[in-house]
Symmetry: C2
Subunit: 407 residues, 2 copies
Amino acid sequence: MTDTVSQPTPESTSGGPDGDFETLAALARVQVDTPSSHVMHFGEDEPIEMDCGASLSPWQIAYQTYGTLAPDRKNAILICHALTGDQHACNVHPVTEKPGWWRLFVGPGKAIDTDRYFVICANVLGGCMGTTGPASVNPATGKPYGVDFPLVTIRDMVRSQAMLLDKLGIDDLLCVVGGSMGGMQVLEWAALYPERVFSAMPIAAATRHSAQNIAFHEVGRQAVMADPGWASGRYLERGTRPRKGLAVARMAAHVTYLSEGALHQKFGRKLQSRAAPTFSFDADFQIESYLRYQGSTFVERFDANSYLYVTRAMDYFDLAAEYDGKLARAFRGTPTRFCVMSFTSDWLFPTKDSRAIVRALNAAAASVSFVEIESDKGHDAFLLDEPDMFSAAKGFIDAAARDRGVA
Amino acid sequence: MTDTVSQPTPESTSGGPDGDFETLAALARVQVDTPSSHVMHFGEDEPIEMDCGASLSPWQIAYQTYGTLAPDRKNAILICHALTGDQHACNVHPVTEKPGWWRLFVGPGKAIDTDRYFVICANVLGGCMGTTGPASVNPATGKPYGVDFPLVTIRDMVRSQAMLLDKLGIDDLLCVVGGSMGGMQVLEWAALYPERVFSAMPIAAATRHSAQNIAFHEVGRQAVMADPGWASGRYLERGTRPRKGLAVARMAAHVTYLSEGALHQKFGRKLQSRAAPTFSFDADFQIESYLRYQGSTFVERFDANSYLYVTRAMDYFDLAAEYDGKLARAFRGTPTRFCVMSFTSDWLFPTKDSRAIVRALNAAAASVSFVEIESDKGHDAFLLDEPDMFSAAKGFIDAAARDRGVA
């Protein structure tokens, strides 16, 4: 899978802490609609040390950039993607051929304006769009890692992104932005590298995964593992795939991304045909065929083991636990300014989770603004057309740029 | 499966509209802890006409009774069970050997007092505890029906219960009570046979299944069907069983039965062991092992095809649609008195669904009281120790008994 989506180019494999600005400028000129990603390789002498104790090498990270890095390098914004997202934030996706997942939010003239800012988005560690993950070849065996891949944490994802930025010669970021799991990474970035983060925008996020959310993830993992095609995680070697199990996992998760109100308004009890119900197990209701479609298309673009690993990373996330159970300690003395956002109808990462972030930031005397956006679209709102989110984000980022002296 | 749990007795197969009172009295003396159910058989000349157009015969219904039928037969209460419930409301379950699902609510001296009332609880049509369902033998083929079983509706379940009562010689009921899908049956009973229902108590119910609830059910069905052991519904013939798929379905459903708050309080992020997380896909978190246990025990007592049929019955339920889309028409001129109950933390059948019932009853000028019970236990609250539910139910039923002249 890695091979089909990542085509290393000479530009993308050079760079480094003292990287050539011309290389970065070349990167920055990458077309928004480029079908492949840049890949940064890390050799055997550049391992990533992971929270589980593993030292992974060699490894690589696949990423996209949009816009132009300013000569003073002060206009870089890092976007962190969510569970099933990837680096293709606002270019046509090479597998699905659909526009990027944050195309409404990021791009020329958008809230995150790629005419002004240099935007970087990298596939997470453990992912399946070019960054090293369970589908990658384990150099020790010559076979895909499968479930031998070390368990990944949100902090590992952030470390990998920091190593990428080191190689790109980007010391600090104007802003780190992300929704859902992306927001978890934003919080971890601010905690781990406060001096590298001028501003941070966690959207529809939480400092730890709730029991209910762990429960839904566990259902999804069990659905994948129940599929004989999963083959104890060795499906790539066996030539099978847990397609049905992964589709069920996606269906279960998808229900949680929408609000009850949105489901009611969009589908209600509408039937697929105008006629009476079929009195069968066919997809009589539109919501059923919608979910089946979501499941079946997902398996075309996502690796089942990556789904296990990335859901697990979210489950393990508990930022306070990394600081003796005191969340405010994660941010003590932080120079970063924050904008925290939530959506009224999001029951997966509800407003109370965002309020907990704000409380901790207040306790740490951090600069923080909080925006709860009225929306009936549920958790998925952060991916959708939410003008209030766009204007709040634009105001926050542009002010940060002004205060930082971005041209 | 049918054979192991239903042992027809001479008493249970006699009776009828003019049934012998001695027979009923004998039934009424059935011990609370009896391990098997009574079964009422309906011959080829007594088909049940189903909403899907099928005419099912022969068929049978398995049921339990508790308490003693009064000579004037005015003290009968029908309990309708929920999706994965059965007739074993307050006796030890013959398969799980655990106390009945409504033991806290029904029994000697309980809110539904079997010292005073004659309580009947029947396994639903399409179920798997003795009532004819997809695991039953299709007389036309000599093999289990499987997915050739006709699709069942809530109204079909109610019709089957009415036919049982006809045979038992019970013309009308002091009360019909049920939670969740049981509450749907209560509403259907009141709409279909108002003259047979003196009082009705739908708990944590709705007059129609929401898009979100259909969605969660569809996830469960797809999990079952994704299991190769399901064998296109022919697993009983093939000697396989979709154990893993059914377990996943149960896990997904179970999350929806609990409130986020209850999950947080009961499990939070507590680990199975006191030590650090294992950095694996083992059940690190207590919520994970709890869910896995729920899934694995469920498959020991429930038939996978029944799960498909009974979830489908709930999805199809839309009482207003049976009355030209006007819910109030379902209850116009009803002589039945109603007590509607909901729980504050139930997000599967939230209070607004119960309020919609109350509004329709008000529009139909029915006698109705409404109790929203403060509880953090989510949808499952109706099965649990909820003193406010017990006292409200006791007050309502005892008042109905008084007004009806029950001794």
